[in-house]
Protein backbone atom coordinates (compact mmCIF):
# COMPACT_ATOMS: atom_id res chain seq x y z
CA UNK A 1 0.00 0.00 0.00
CA UNK A 2 2.86 2.36 0.89
CA UNK A 3 4.57 1.45 -2.34
CA UNK A 4 1.46 2.28 -4.33
CA UNK A 5 1.20 5.62 -2.57
CA UNK A 6 4.82 6.39 -3.24
CA UNK A 7 4.44 5.29 -6.84
CA UNK A 8 1.52 7.69 -7.27
CA UNK A 9 3.51 10.50 -5.67
CA UNK A 10 6.54 9.77 -7.84
CA UNK A 11 4.49 9.66 -11.01
CA UNK A 12 2.67 12.88 -10.14
CA UNK A 13 5.97 14.71 -9.74
CA UNK A 14 7.37 13.14 -12.90
CA UNK A 15 4.29 14.13 -14.89
CA UNK A 16 4.53 17.70 -13.67
CA UNK A 17 8.08 17.75 -14.93
CA UNK A 18 6.94 16.28 -18.21
CA UNK A 19 4.45 19.13 -18.55
CA UNK A 20 7.31 21.64 -18.30
CA UNK A 21 9.31 19.52 -20.73
CA UNK A 22 6.39 19.56 -23.18
CA UNK A 23 6.38 23.35 -23.04
CA UNK A 24 10.12 23.41 -23.62
CA UNK A 25 9.75 20.97 -26.48
CA UNK A 26 7.36 23.35 -28.21
CA UNK A 27 9.88 26.17 -27.80
CA UNK A 28 13.08 24.31 -28.51
CA UNK A 29 12.22 21.02 -30.17
CA UNK A 30 9.65 22.37 -32.59
CA UNK A 31 10.72 25.98 -33.03
CA UNK A 32 14.38 26.02 -32.06
CA UNK A 33 14.05 28.70 -29.38
CA UNK A 34 16.56 28.34 -26.59
CA UNK A 35 15.09 29.01 -23.14
CA UNK A 36 17.52 28.77 -20.23
CA UNK A 37 15.23 30.59 -17.84
CA UNK A 38 12.31 28.23 -17.78
CA UNK A 39 12.43 28.09 -13.99
CA UNK A 40 11.35 31.73 -14.12
CA UNK A 41 8.25 30.94 -16.14
CA UNK A 42 7.37 28.02 -13.89
CA UNK A 43 7.73 30.34 -10.90
CA UNK A 44 5.53 32.98 -12.53
CA UNK A 45 2.80 30.38 -12.96
CA UNK A 46 3.11 29.06 -9.43
CA UNK A 47 3.02 32.51 -7.81
CA UNK A 48 0.19 33.78 -10.01
CA UNK A 49 -2.01 30.83 -9.19
CA UNK A 50 -1.10 31.00 -5.51
CA UNK A 51 -1.99 34.69 -5.33
CA UNK A 52 -5.30 34.16 -7.06
CA UNK A 53 -6.48 31.19 -5.04
CA UNK A 54 -5.15 31.56 -1.49
CA UNK A 55 -7.44 32.98 1.16
CA UNK A 56 -6.90 36.61 2.02
CA UNK A 57 -3.74 37.39 3.98
CA UNK A 58 -3.14 40.67 5.76
CA UNK A 59 0.64 40.28 5.55
CA UNK A 60 0.76 40.52 1.79
CA UNK A 61 -1.10 41.69 -1.23
CA UNK A 62 -3.90 39.57 -2.63
CA UNK A 63 -5.06 36.19 -1.64
CA UNK A 64 -8.23 36.44 -3.66
CA UNK A 65 -9.67 33.06 -2.73
CA UNK A 66 -10.72 32.29 -6.29
CA UNK A 67 -11.41 28.73 -7.51
CA UNK A 68 -8.34 26.66 -8.41
CA UNK A 69 -9.24 26.45 -12.08
CA UNK A 70 -9.20 30.27 -12.32
CA UNK A 71 -5.75 30.21 -10.74
CA UNK A 72 -4.53 27.80 -13.41
CA UNK A 73 -5.98 29.88 -16.23
CA UNK A 74 -4.51 33.04 -14.72
CA UNK A 75 -1.12 31.34 -14.46
CA UNK A 76 -1.23 30.40 -18.13
CA UNK A 77 -2.20 33.92 -19.19
CA UNK A 78 0.47 35.65 -17.12
CA UNK A 79 3.12 33.10 -18.09
CA UNK A 80 2.18 33.45 -21.74
CA UNK A 81 2.34 37.25 -21.63
CA UNK A 82 5.72 37.18 -19.88
CA UNK A 83 7.06 34.80 -22.53
CA UNK A 84 5.60 36.90 -25.35
CA UNK A 85 7.32 40.05 -24.06
CA UNK A 86 10.61 38.19 -23.74
CA UNK A 87 10.18 36.87 -27.24
CA UNK A 88 9.31 40.22 -28.76
CA UNK A 89 12.42 41.79 -27.25
CA UNK A 90 14.83 39.21 -28.57
CA UNK A 91 13.47 37.12 -31.41
CA UNK A 92 14.53 39.52 -34.12
CA UNK A 93 18.13 39.12 -32.95
CA UNK A 94 20.58 36.23 -32.92
CA UNK A 95 19.42 33.15 -31.07
CA UNK A 96 21.97 33.62 -28.30
CA UNK A 97 20.28 36.84 -27.21
CA UNK A 98 17.15 34.91 -26.37
CA UNK A 99 19.21 32.52 -24.26
CA UNK A 100 20.82 35.37 -22.35
CA UNK A 101 17.52 37.19 -21.88
CA UNK A 102 15.65 34.15 -20.60
CA UNK A 103 18.53 33.56 -18.23
CA UNK A 104 17.98 37.12 -17.01
CA UNK A 105 14.24 36.56 -16.66
CA UNK A 106 14.90 33.66 -14.30
CA UNK A 107 17.30 35.76 -12.23
CA UNK A 108 14.82 38.63 -11.95
CA UNK A 109 11.86 36.37 -11.14
CA UNK A 110 13.96 34.77 -8.41
CA UNK A 111 14.84 38.23 -7.11
CA UNK A 112 11.22 39.38 -7.08
CA UNK A 113 10.15 36.18 -5.35
CA UNK A 114 12.80 36.75 -2.67
CA UNK A 115 12.43 40.49 -2.15
CA UNK A 116 8.93 41.63 -3.04
CA UNK A 117 7.61 40.42 0.28
CA UNK A 118 4.31 42.22 -0.12
CA UNK A 119 3.59 40.15 -3.21
CA UNK A 120 5.37 36.85 -2.79
CA UNK A 121 5.94 36.39 0.91
CA UNK A 122 9.70 36.71 0.43
CA UNK A 123 12.02 33.83 1.36
CA UNK A 124 9.27 32.13 3.38
CA UNK A 125 7.06 31.82 0.33
CA UNK A 126 3.32 31.33 0.27
CA UNK A 127 1.52 28.63 2.20
CA UNK A 128 -2.06 27.41 2.48
CA UNK A 129 -2.46 27.08 -1.26
CA UNK A 130 -5.72 25.17 -1.73
CA UNK A 131 -5.20 21.63 -2.93
CA UNK A 132 -7.59 19.85 -5.22
CA UNK A 133 -9.23 17.05 -3.23
CA UNK A 134 -7.77 18.58 -0.08
CA UNK A 135 -10.62 16.99 1.88
CA UNK A 136 -9.12 13.57 1.07
CA UNK A 137 -5.85 14.40 2.83
CA UNK A 138 -6.80 12.10 5.74
CA UNK A 139 -6.37 9.08 3.50
CA UNK A 140 -3.02 9.75 1.81
CA UNK A 141 -3.38 6.98 -0.73
CA UNK A 142 -6.68 8.25 -2.07
CA UNK A 143 -5.32 11.78 -2.01
CA UNK A 144 -2.20 10.83 -3.97
CA UNK A 145 -4.17 8.84 -6.51
CA UNK A 146 -6.69 11.59 -7.12
CA UNK A 147 -3.89 14.11 -7.56
CA UNK A 148 -2.18 11.78 -9.96
CA UNK A 149 -5.41 11.55 -11.92
CA UNK A 150 -5.69 15.35 -12.14
CA UNK A 151 -2.10 15.79 -13.26
CA UNK A 152 -2.36 12.89 -15.69
CA UNK A 153 -5.49 14.33 -17.28
CA UNK A 154 -3.92 17.78 -17.66
CA UNK A 155 -0.75 16.29 -19.10
CA UNK A 156 -2.76 14.18 -21.52
CA UNK A 157 -4.78 17.19 -22.70
CA UNK A 158 -1.63 19.26 -23.23
CA UNK A 159 0.07 16.33 -24.94
CA UNK A 160 -2.81 15.76 -27.36
CA UNK A 161 -3.15 19.48 -28.04
CA UNK A 162 0.55 19.74 -28.81
CA UNK A 163 0.47 16.68 -31.04
CA UNK A 164 -2.41 18.22 -32.90
CA UNK A 165 -0.68 21.60 -33.10
CA UNK A 166 2.55 20.17 -34.44
CA UNK A 167 0.67 18.48 -37.27
CA UNK A 168 -1.50 21.52 -37.98
CA UNK A 169 -0.52 24.15 -40.55
CA UNK A 170 0.73 26.25 -37.65
CA UNK A 171 3.11 23.51 -36.51
CA UNK A 172 4.30 22.96 -40.05
CA UNK A 173 5.23 26.64 -40.34
CA UNK A 174 7.24 26.36 -37.11
CA UNK A 175 9.08 23.31 -38.39
CA UNK A 176 9.69 25.02 -41.72
CA UNK A 177 11.14 28.03 -39.90
CA UNK A 178 13.34 25.77 -37.85
CA UNK A 179 14.62 23.84 -40.83
CA UNK A 180 15.08 26.62 -43.34
CA UNK A 181 14.17 30.09 -42.30
CA UNK A 182 14.81 31.74 -45.66
CA UNK A 183 12.61 29.31 -47.53
CA UNK A 184 9.78 29.78 -45.05
CA UNK A 185 10.04 33.56 -45.17
CA UNK A 186 10.02 33.51 -48.94
CA UNK A 187 6.66 31.73 -48.69
CA UNK A 188 5.35 34.74 -46.85
CA UNK A 189 5.51 33.51 -43.25
CA UNK A 190 6.54 36.08 -40.68
CA UNK A 191 9.28 34.31 -38.76
CA UNK A 192 9.17 36.55 -35.74
CA UNK A 193 5.40 36.47 -35.36
CA UNK A 194 5.24 32.67 -35.39
CA UNK A 195 8.21 32.36 -33.05
CA UNK A 196 6.71 34.75 -30.51
CA UNK A 197 3.49 32.72 -30.60
CA UNK A 198 5.31 29.44 -30.04
CA UNK A 199 7.38 30.95 -27.27
CA UNK A 200 4.29 32.36 -25.56
CA UNK A 201 2.39 29.08 -25.74
CA UNK A 202 5.41 27.23 -24.38
CA UNK A 203 5.69 29.74 -21.55
CA UNK A 204 2.00 29.32 -20.75
CA UNK A 205 2.42 25.53 -20.49
CA UNK A 206 5.39 25.95 -18.15
CA UNK A 207 3.38 28.37 -16.01
CA UNK A 208 0.53 25.85 -15.88
CA UNK A 209 2.97 23.20 -14.69
CA UNK A 210 4.18 25.57 -11.99
CA UNK A 211 0.62 26.23 -10.89
CA UNK A 212 -0.22 22.51 -10.78
CA UNK A 213 2.81 21.83 -8.65
CA UNK A 214 2.01 24.70 -6.29
CA UNK A 215 -1.47 23.30 -5.71
CA UNK A 216 -0.19 19.78 -5.34
CA UNK A 217 2.32 20.65 -2.62
CA UNK A 218 0.30 23.48 -1.11
CA UNK A 219 3.35 25.63 -0.42
CA UNK A 220 5.82 27.52 -2.61
CA UNK A 221 9.09 29.31 -1.91
CA UNK A 222 11.75 30.91 -4.12
CA UNK A 223 14.05 27.93 -3.56
CA UNK A 224 11.81 25.74 -5.74
CA UNK A 225 12.75 27.72 -8.83
CA UNK A 226 16.53 27.79 -8.89
CA UNK A 227 18.56 27.27 -12.09
CA UNK A 228 18.80 23.60 -11.18
CA UNK A 229 15.16 23.20 -12.23
CA UNK A 230 15.92 24.63 -15.68
CA UNK A 231 18.82 22.27 -15.92
CA UNK A 232 16.81 19.19 -14.92
CA UNK A 233 14.15 19.91 -17.51
CA UNK A 234 16.73 20.41 -20.23
CA UNK A 235 18.31 17.06 -19.44
CA UNK A 236 14.86 15.47 -19.55
CA UNK A 237 14.15 16.91 -22.99
CA UNK A 238 17.57 16.02 -24.40
CA UNK A 239 17.41 12.48 -23.05
CA UNK A 240 13.92 11.98 -24.42
CA UNK A 241 14.83 13.59 -27.70
CA UNK A 242 13.96 17.13 -28.63
CA UNK A 243 11.21 17.49 -31.17
CA UNK A 244 9.20 14.54 -29.90
CA UNK A 245 6.38 15.01 -27.40
CA UNK A 246 6.49 11.33 -26.54
CA UNK A 247 10.21 11.68 -25.90
CA UNK A 248 9.56 14.67 -23.66
CA UNK A 249 7.19 12.69 -21.44
CA UNK A 250 9.26 9.51 -21.32
CA UNK A 251 12.50 11.42 -20.88
CA UNK A 252 11.01 13.27 -17.91
CA UNK A 253 9.87 10.11 -16.19
CA UNK A 254 13.18 8.39 -16.87
CA UNK A 255 15.40 11.25 -15.70
CA UNK A 256 13.22 11.88 -12.66
CA UNK A 257 13.51 8.18 -11.79
CA UNK A 258 17.30 8.40 -12.05
CA UNK A 259 17.36 11.64 -10.07
CA UNK A 260 15.03 10.47 -7.28
CA UNK A 261 16.65 7.05 -7.21
CA UNK A 262 20.21 8.29 -6.93
CA UNK A 263 19.04 10.83 -4.36
CA UNK A 264 17.49 8.07 -2.27
CA UNK A 265 20.63 5.96 -2.54
CA UNK A 266 22.94 8.78 -1.48
CA UNK A 267 20.73 9.75 1.45
CA UNK A 268 20.74 6.13 2.59
CA UNK A 269 24.48 5.53 2.18
CA UNK A 270 26.10 8.90 2.83
CA UNK A 271 26.47 10.24 6.38
CA UNK A 272 24.34 13.34 7.02
CA UNK A 273 27.23 15.81 7.22
CA UNK A 274 28.32 14.82 3.71
CA UNK A 275 24.83 15.03 2.17
CA UNK A 276 25.34 18.46 0.60
CA UNK A 277 28.51 17.25 -1.05
CA UNK A 278 26.86 14.14 -2.39
CA UNK A 279 24.04 16.25 -3.82
CA UNK A 280 26.60 18.48 -5.56
CA UNK A 281 28.28 15.44 -7.03
CA UNK A 282 24.90 14.21 -8.25
CA UNK A 283 24.34 17.48 -10.14
CA UNK A 284 27.84 17.35 -11.59
CA UNK A 285 27.21 13.81 -12.81
CA UNK A 286 23.98 14.85 -14.52
CA UNK A 287 25.79 17.80 -16.12
CA UNK A 288 28.42 15.51 -17.52
CA UNK A 289 25.65 13.20 -18.72
CA UNK A 290 24.02 16.07 -20.62
CA UNK A 291 27.30 16.88 -22.36
CA UNK A 292 27.90 13.24 -23.25
CA UNK A 293 24.42 12.85 -24.73
CA UNK A 294 24.92 16.01 -26.78
CA UNK A 295 28.20 14.60 -28.07
CA UNK A 296 27.22 11.01 -28.66
CA UNK A 297 23.52 10.96 -29.36
CA UNK A 298 22.22 14.49 -29.91
CA UNK A 299 18.85 13.12 -31.02
CA UNK A 300 18.08 11.54 -27.66
CA UNK A 301 15.83 8.49 -27.47
CA UNK A 302 13.03 9.68 -29.76
CA UNK A 303 14.67 12.69 -31.32
CA UNK A 304 13.60 14.66 -34.34
CA UNK A 305 16.09 17.47 -34.37
CA UNK A 306 16.97 19.93 -37.07
CA UNK A 307 20.23 19.18 -38.74
CA UNK A 308 20.63 22.75 -39.83
CA UNK A 309 21.69 25.88 -38.01
CA UNK A 310 18.99 28.34 -37.18
CA UNK A 311 18.61 31.98 -38.20
CA UNK A 312 19.94 31.47 -41.72
CA UNK A 313 23.56 31.70 -40.75
CA UNK A 314 26.13 30.31 -43.11
CA UNK A 315 26.29 26.60 -42.53
CA UNK A 316 29.86 26.06 -41.59
CA UNK A 317 31.29 22.60 -41.86
CA UNK A 318 28.48 21.45 -44.09
CA UNK A 319 30.44 18.32 -44.72
CA UNK A 320 30.24 17.44 -41.04
CA UNK A 321 26.46 17.53 -41.03
CA UNK A 322 24.92 14.13 -40.82
CA UNK A 323 21.55 13.48 -42.35
CA UNK A 324 20.42 10.72 -40.08
CA UNK A 325 16.69 10.58 -39.43
Amino acid sequence: MDLLGYGAFFLTTALMFSLITLGLNLQWGLTGLFNVGLAGFVAIGAYTSALLTTPEDAARLGGFGLPIIIGWLGAMIVGGIAAAITGMATLRLRSDYLAITTFGVAVVVQLVALNAQKLTGGPFGIGFIPRPFGELAETPLLFNLSNLAVVAVVTLIVYLALEHLSRSPWGRVLKALREDERAAISLGKSARFYRVQAFAVGGAIMALAGALQAHFIGFIAPDNYLPILTFQVWVMLIVGGSGSNKGAVIGSILVWAIWAGSGAVTSALVPPEQQARAAALQIAAIGVMLCIILLVRPGGLFGDMPRRPRFGKIAKAVAGESTTK
Partner: protein
Protein backbone atom coordinates in the same frame (compact mmCIF):
# COMPACT_ATOMS: atom_id res chain seq x y z
CA UNK B 1 23.84 61.15 -2.79
CA UNK B 2 27.12 59.85 -1.46
CA UNK B 3 29.86 59.72 -4.09
CA UNK B 4 31.26 56.53 -2.58
CA UNK B 5 29.25 54.63 -5.17
CA UNK B 6 31.76 55.79 -7.81
CA UNK B 7 34.57 53.76 -6.26
CA UNK B 8 32.35 50.75 -5.57
CA UNK B 9 30.98 50.94 -9.09
CA UNK B 10 34.38 51.20 -10.71
CA UNK B 11 35.56 48.14 -8.78
CA UNK B 12 32.50 46.03 -9.59
CA UNK B 13 32.77 47.34 -13.13
CA UNK B 14 36.38 46.19 -13.37
CA UNK B 15 35.42 42.66 -12.35
CA UNK B 16 32.52 42.61 -14.77
CA UNK B 17 34.59 44.16 -17.54
CA UNK B 18 37.48 41.71 -17.21
CA UNK B 19 35.02 38.83 -17.36
CA UNK B 20 33.10 40.39 -20.21
CA UNK B 21 36.24 40.53 -22.37
CA UNK B 22 36.28 36.73 -22.37
CA UNK B 23 32.55 36.55 -23.07
CA UNK B 24 32.74 38.97 -25.96
CA UNK B 25 35.74 37.21 -27.49
CA UNK B 26 34.13 33.77 -27.32
CA UNK B 27 30.96 35.21 -28.75
CA UNK B 28 32.57 37.00 -31.67
CA UNK B 29 35.23 34.43 -32.55
CA UNK B 30 33.72 31.08 -31.60
CA UNK B 31 30.18 32.40 -32.12
CA UNK B 32 28.45 31.17 -29.02
CA UNK B 33 27.60 32.63 -25.63
CA UNK B 34 29.55 30.65 -23.10
CA UNK B 35 27.51 30.02 -19.97
CA UNK B 36 30.50 28.31 -18.38
CA UNK B 37 32.55 31.51 -18.38
CA UNK B 38 31.46 32.44 -14.87
CA UNK B 39 32.61 29.07 -13.65
CA UNK B 40 36.04 29.64 -15.18
CA UNK B 41 36.16 32.58 -12.78
CA UNK B 42 35.29 30.45 -9.80
CA UNK B 43 37.71 27.68 -10.79
CA UNK B 44 40.50 30.19 -11.31
CA UNK B 45 39.86 31.69 -7.91
CA UNK B 46 39.84 28.36 -6.10
CA UNK B 47 43.00 27.33 -7.98
CA UNK B 48 44.66 30.57 -6.84
CA UNK B 49 43.48 29.94 -3.30
CA UNK B 50 44.91 26.42 -3.41
CA UNK B 51 48.29 27.72 -4.59
CA UNK B 52 48.30 30.42 -1.89
CA UNK B 53 47.72 27.83 0.81
CA UNK B 54 50.35 25.56 -0.73
CA UNK B 55 52.88 28.39 -0.63
CA UNK B 56 51.81 29.15 2.91
CA UNK B 57 52.41 25.53 3.88
CA UNK B 58 55.87 25.54 2.26
CA UNK B 59 57.26 28.88 3.40
CA UNK B 60 55.29 29.53 6.54
CA UNK B 61 53.54 32.78 7.20
CA UNK B 62 54.59 35.59 4.88
CA UNK B 63 53.95 39.21 5.73
CA UNK B 64 51.79 41.11 3.26
CA UNK B 65 53.36 43.88 1.17
CA UNK B 66 53.16 47.10 3.20
CA UNK B 67 49.68 48.64 2.83
CA UNK B 68 48.06 45.74 0.97
CA UNK B 69 46.26 42.77 2.51
CA UNK B 70 48.22 40.25 0.44
CA UNK B 71 51.89 39.49 -0.24
CA UNK B 72 53.91 37.94 -3.03
CA UNK B 73 52.33 34.46 -2.61
CA UNK B 74 49.05 35.77 -3.97
CA UNK B 75 50.75 37.44 -6.94
CA UNK B 76 52.57 34.22 -7.82
CA UNK B 77 49.39 32.24 -7.23
CA UNK B 78 47.34 34.45 -9.54
CA UNK B 79 49.79 33.88 -12.36
CA UNK B 80 49.62 30.11 -11.81
CA UNK B 81 45.85 30.37 -11.48
CA UNK B 82 45.61 32.24 -14.78
CA UNK B 83 47.59 29.52 -16.53
CA UNK B 84 45.41 26.88 -14.88
CA UNK B 85 42.17 28.57 -15.94
CA UNK B 86 43.42 28.99 -19.50
CA UNK B 87 44.30 25.29 -19.56
CA UNK B 88 40.89 24.41 -18.16
CA UNK B 89 39.22 26.44 -20.92
CA UNK B 90 41.39 24.79 -23.57
CA UNK B 91 40.64 21.35 -22.16
CA UNK B 92 36.89 21.98 -22.12
CA UNK B 93 37.12 23.21 -25.69
CA UNK B 94 39.00 20.11 -26.74
CA UNK B 95 36.70 17.54 -25.17
CA UNK B 96 33.41 19.35 -25.68
CA UNK B 97 33.02 22.60 -27.57
CA UNK B 98 35.29 21.96 -30.56
CA UNK B 99 33.55 18.66 -31.27
CA UNK B 100 30.12 20.24 -31.19
CA UNK B 101 31.31 23.21 -33.25
CA UNK B 102 32.21 20.96 -36.14
CA UNK B 103 28.57 19.84 -36.22
CA UNK B 104 27.71 23.40 -37.16
CA UNK B 105 24.96 24.06 -34.62
CA UNK B 106 25.81 27.11 -32.58
CA UNK B 107 22.98 26.73 -30.11
CA UNK B 108 23.91 23.14 -29.21
CA UNK B 109 27.26 24.50 -28.10
CA UNK B 110 25.44 27.01 -25.88
CA UNK B 111 23.47 24.18 -24.33
CA UNK B 112 26.63 22.16 -23.77
CA UNK B 113 28.20 25.17 -22.06
CA UNK B 114 25.14 25.33 -19.81
CA UNK B 115 25.60 21.69 -18.86
CA UNK B 116 29.33 22.16 -18.38
CA UNK B 117 28.67 25.17 -16.17
CA UNK B 118 26.40 23.11 -13.90
CA UNK B 119 28.97 20.33 -13.71
CA UNK B 120 31.93 22.64 -13.04
CA UNK B 121 30.12 24.56 -10.33
CA UNK B 122 28.83 21.47 -8.59
CA UNK B 123 32.30 19.93 -8.66
CA UNK B 124 33.62 22.99 -6.83
CA UNK B 125 30.82 22.64 -4.32
CA UNK B 126 31.74 18.98 -3.92
CA UNK B 127 35.43 19.69 -3.32
CA UNK B 128 35.29 22.90 -1.30
CA UNK B 129 31.65 22.85 -0.04
CA UNK B 130 29.48 25.93 -0.47
CA UNK B 131 30.86 27.67 2.62
CA UNK B 132 32.45 31.01 1.65
CA UNK B 133 36.19 31.46 2.17
CA UNK B 134 38.56 34.41 1.96
CA UNK B 135 42.08 35.18 0.84
CA UNK B 136 42.58 37.28 3.92
CA UNK B 137 40.41 38.07 6.88
CA UNK B 138 42.31 41.24 7.68
CA UNK B 139 40.21 44.38 7.62
CA UNK B 140 41.75 47.26 5.73
CA UNK B 141 41.38 50.85 6.78
CA UNK B 142 39.86 52.94 4.02
CA UNK B 143 41.55 56.28 3.43
CA UNK B 144 39.46 59.33 2.68
CA UNK B 145 40.35 60.93 -0.65
CA UNK B 146 37.91 63.82 -0.65
CA UNK B 147 34.33 64.28 -1.91
CA UNK B 148 33.23 61.87 0.79
CA UNK B 149 34.96 58.99 -0.95
CA UNK B 150 37.01 56.39 0.90
CA UNK B 151 39.23 53.80 -0.69
CA UNK B 152 41.45 50.98 0.61
CA UNK B 153 44.97 50.27 -0.68
CA UNK B 154 43.74 46.94 -2.08
CA UNK B 155 41.10 48.70 -4.12
CA UNK B 156 43.61 51.14 -5.59
CA UNK B 157 45.95 48.29 -6.50
CA UNK B 158 43.18 46.29 -8.15
CA UNK B 159 41.97 49.27 -10.18
CA UNK B 160 45.53 49.75 -11.42
CA UNK B 161 45.87 46.06 -12.25
CA UNK B 162 42.65 46.23 -14.25
CA UNK B 163 43.83 49.26 -16.18
CA UNK B 164 47.14 47.58 -17.02
CA UNK B 165 45.46 44.35 -18.09
CA UNK B 166 42.89 46.10 -20.28
CA UNK B 167 45.61 48.17 -21.92
CA UNK B 168 47.69 45.05 -22.43
CA UNK B 169 44.86 43.12 -24.06
CA UNK B 170 44.00 46.11 -26.20
CA UNK B 171 47.61 46.37 -27.44
CA UNK B 172 47.71 42.61 -27.98
CA UNK B 173 44.58 42.77 -30.11
CA UNK B 174 45.60 45.78 -32.19
CA UNK B 175 49.39 45.64 -32.39
CA UNK B 176 50.33 41.99 -32.71
CA UNK B 177 49.87 39.57 -35.57
CA UNK B 178 47.94 37.14 -33.33
CA UNK B 179 45.53 39.84 -32.22
CA UNK B 180 44.94 41.07 -35.73
CA UNK B 181 44.29 37.48 -36.85
CA UNK B 182 41.68 37.19 -34.12
CA UNK B 183 39.97 40.39 -35.24
CA UNK B 184 40.04 39.29 -38.85
CA UNK B 185 38.55 35.95 -37.92
CA UNK B 186 35.74 37.52 -35.93
CA UNK B 187 34.87 39.90 -38.77
CA UNK B 188 34.84 37.34 -41.54
CA UNK B 189 35.72 33.76 -40.70
CA UNK B 190 35.59 32.44 -44.25
CA UNK B 191 37.81 35.18 -45.64
CA UNK B 192 40.24 34.78 -42.76
CA UNK B 193 40.59 31.09 -43.59
CA UNK B 194 41.22 31.89 -47.25
CA UNK B 195 44.07 34.27 -46.51
CA UNK B 196 45.68 31.53 -44.45
CA UNK B 197 45.04 32.62 -40.87
CA UNK B 198 45.82 29.84 -38.43
CA UNK B 199 42.35 29.08 -37.09
CA UNK B 200 43.54 26.72 -34.38
CA UNK B 201 45.83 29.45 -33.07
CA UNK B 202 42.98 31.98 -33.04
CA UNK B 203 40.76 29.59 -31.08
CA UNK B 204 43.56 28.86 -28.62
CA UNK B 205 44.29 32.54 -28.07
CA UNK B 206 40.61 33.22 -27.45
CA UNK B 207 40.40 30.66 -24.67
CA UNK B 208 43.75 31.64 -23.15
CA UNK B 209 42.89 35.35 -22.95
CA UNK B 210 39.34 34.68 -21.79
CA UNK B 211 40.36 32.12 -19.18
CA UNK B 212 43.27 34.13 -17.79
CA UNK B 213 41.20 37.31 -17.43
CA UNK B 214 38.32 35.36 -15.88
CA UNK B 215 40.76 34.13 -13.24
CA UNK B 216 41.94 37.67 -12.44
CA UNK B 217 38.35 38.90 -12.20
CA UNK B 218 37.52 36.01 -9.88
CA UNK B 219 40.51 36.69 -7.64
CA UNK B 220 39.46 40.35 -7.44
CA UNK B 221 36.06 39.22 -6.21
CA UNK B 222 37.83 36.90 -3.82
CA UNK B 223 39.95 39.72 -2.38
CA UNK B 224 37.17 42.30 -2.13
CA UNK B 225 34.12 40.17 -1.44
CA UNK B 226 34.38 36.44 -0.82
CA UNK B 227 35.06 33.11 -2.52
CA UNK B 228 32.09 30.83 -3.16
CA UNK B 229 31.36 28.19 -5.82
CA UNK B 230 28.51 30.40 -7.11
CA UNK B 231 30.63 33.55 -7.36
CA UNK B 232 31.12 33.21 -11.10
CA UNK B 233 27.60 32.11 -11.92
CA UNK B 234 26.24 35.21 -10.21
CA UNK B 235 28.46 37.34 -12.46
CA UNK B 236 27.14 35.75 -15.64
CA UNK B 237 24.24 38.10 -16.28
CA UNK B 238 26.25 41.30 -15.66
CA UNK B 239 29.01 39.97 -17.93
CA UNK B 240 26.61 39.14 -20.76
CA UNK B 241 24.88 42.49 -20.35
CA UNK B 242 28.23 44.29 -20.42
CA UNK B 243 29.36 42.45 -23.55
CA UNK B 244 26.12 43.25 -25.37
CA UNK B 245 26.00 46.83 -24.11
CA UNK B 246 29.53 47.45 -25.32
CA UNK B 247 28.92 45.76 -28.63
CA UNK B 248 29.80 42.12 -29.24
CA UNK B 249 33.42 41.66 -30.28
CA UNK B 250 34.64 44.99 -28.95
CA UNK B 251 37.13 44.82 -26.06
CA UNK B 252 36.94 48.52 -25.14
CA UNK B 253 33.18 48.08 -25.39
CA UNK B 254 33.17 45.14 -22.96
CA UNK B 255 35.20 47.12 -20.42
CA UNK B 256 33.11 50.27 -20.82
CA UNK B 257 29.94 48.18 -20.61
CA UNK B 258 31.27 46.57 -17.45
CA UNK B 259 32.03 49.94 -15.89
CA UNK B 260 28.59 51.31 -16.79
CA UNK B 261 26.88 48.30 -15.28
CA UNK B 262 29.12 48.40 -12.23
CA UNK B 263 28.34 52.07 -11.63
CA UNK B 264 24.64 51.50 -12.24
CA UNK B 265 24.64 48.62 -9.75
CA UNK B 266 26.45 50.65 -7.13
CA UNK B 267 24.09 53.57 -7.70
CA UNK B 268 21.07 51.28 -7.42
CA UNK B 269 22.38 49.84 -4.17
CA UNK B 270 22.39 53.34 -2.71
CA UNK B 271 19.07 54.44 -4.13
CA UNK B 272 16.89 51.32 -4.09
CA UNK B 273 18.65 48.81 -1.88
CA UNK B 274 21.22 46.06 -2.19
CA UNK B 275 18.67 43.29 -2.63
CA UNK B 276 17.73 44.54 -6.13
CA UNK B 277 21.29 44.77 -7.37
CA UNK B 278 21.07 41.76 -9.69
CA UNK B 279 18.09 43.25 -11.52
CA UNK B 280 20.14 46.22 -12.74
CA UNK B 281 21.99 44.30 -15.42
CA UNK B 282 18.74 42.78 -16.64
CA UNK B 283 17.08 46.18 -16.98
CA UNK B 284 20.11 47.53 -18.87
CA UNK B 285 20.20 44.40 -21.04
CA UNK B 286 16.54 44.72 -22.00
CA UNK B 287 16.94 48.43 -22.72
CA UNK B 288 19.91 47.76 -24.99
CA UNK B 289 18.11 44.96 -26.81
CA UNK B 290 15.11 47.20 -27.51
CA UNK B 291 16.96 50.40 -28.37
CA UNK B 292 20.35 49.51 -29.79
CA UNK B 293 20.87 45.73 -29.92
CA UNK B 294 24.29 46.02 -31.54
CA UNK B 295 25.64 47.94 -28.56
CA UNK B 296 27.80 51.03 -28.18
CA UNK B 297 30.73 50.02 -30.36
CA UNK B 298 29.07 47.23 -32.30
CA UNK B 299 28.01 47.07 -35.89
CA UNK B 300 24.63 45.95 -37.14
CA UNK B 301 24.11 42.22 -37.70
CA UNK B 302 26.81 41.01 -39.97
Amino acid sequence: MNLQFVVDGLLTGSMIGLGAIGVTLTYSILRFSNFAHGDFMAWGTYATLAVVSAIGAMFGKIAPIAPLSFGWPLIVAVIIGMAFTALLALLLDKVLFSRLRTQGQAIIVVMASFGASMALRSLLEFIFTSRPTYFSRAIQIAMPVGFGIRITPDQIALLLVTAVLVLGVHLLMTRTQAGRSMQAFSQNAALARIVGIDVAMVVRMTWIIGGALACVAGVMIGILVQIRPFMGFDMLLPMFAAAILGGIGSIPGAVLGGLIIGLAEAGAVQLIGAEWRAAVSFVILMAVLFVRPFGIFGVRER
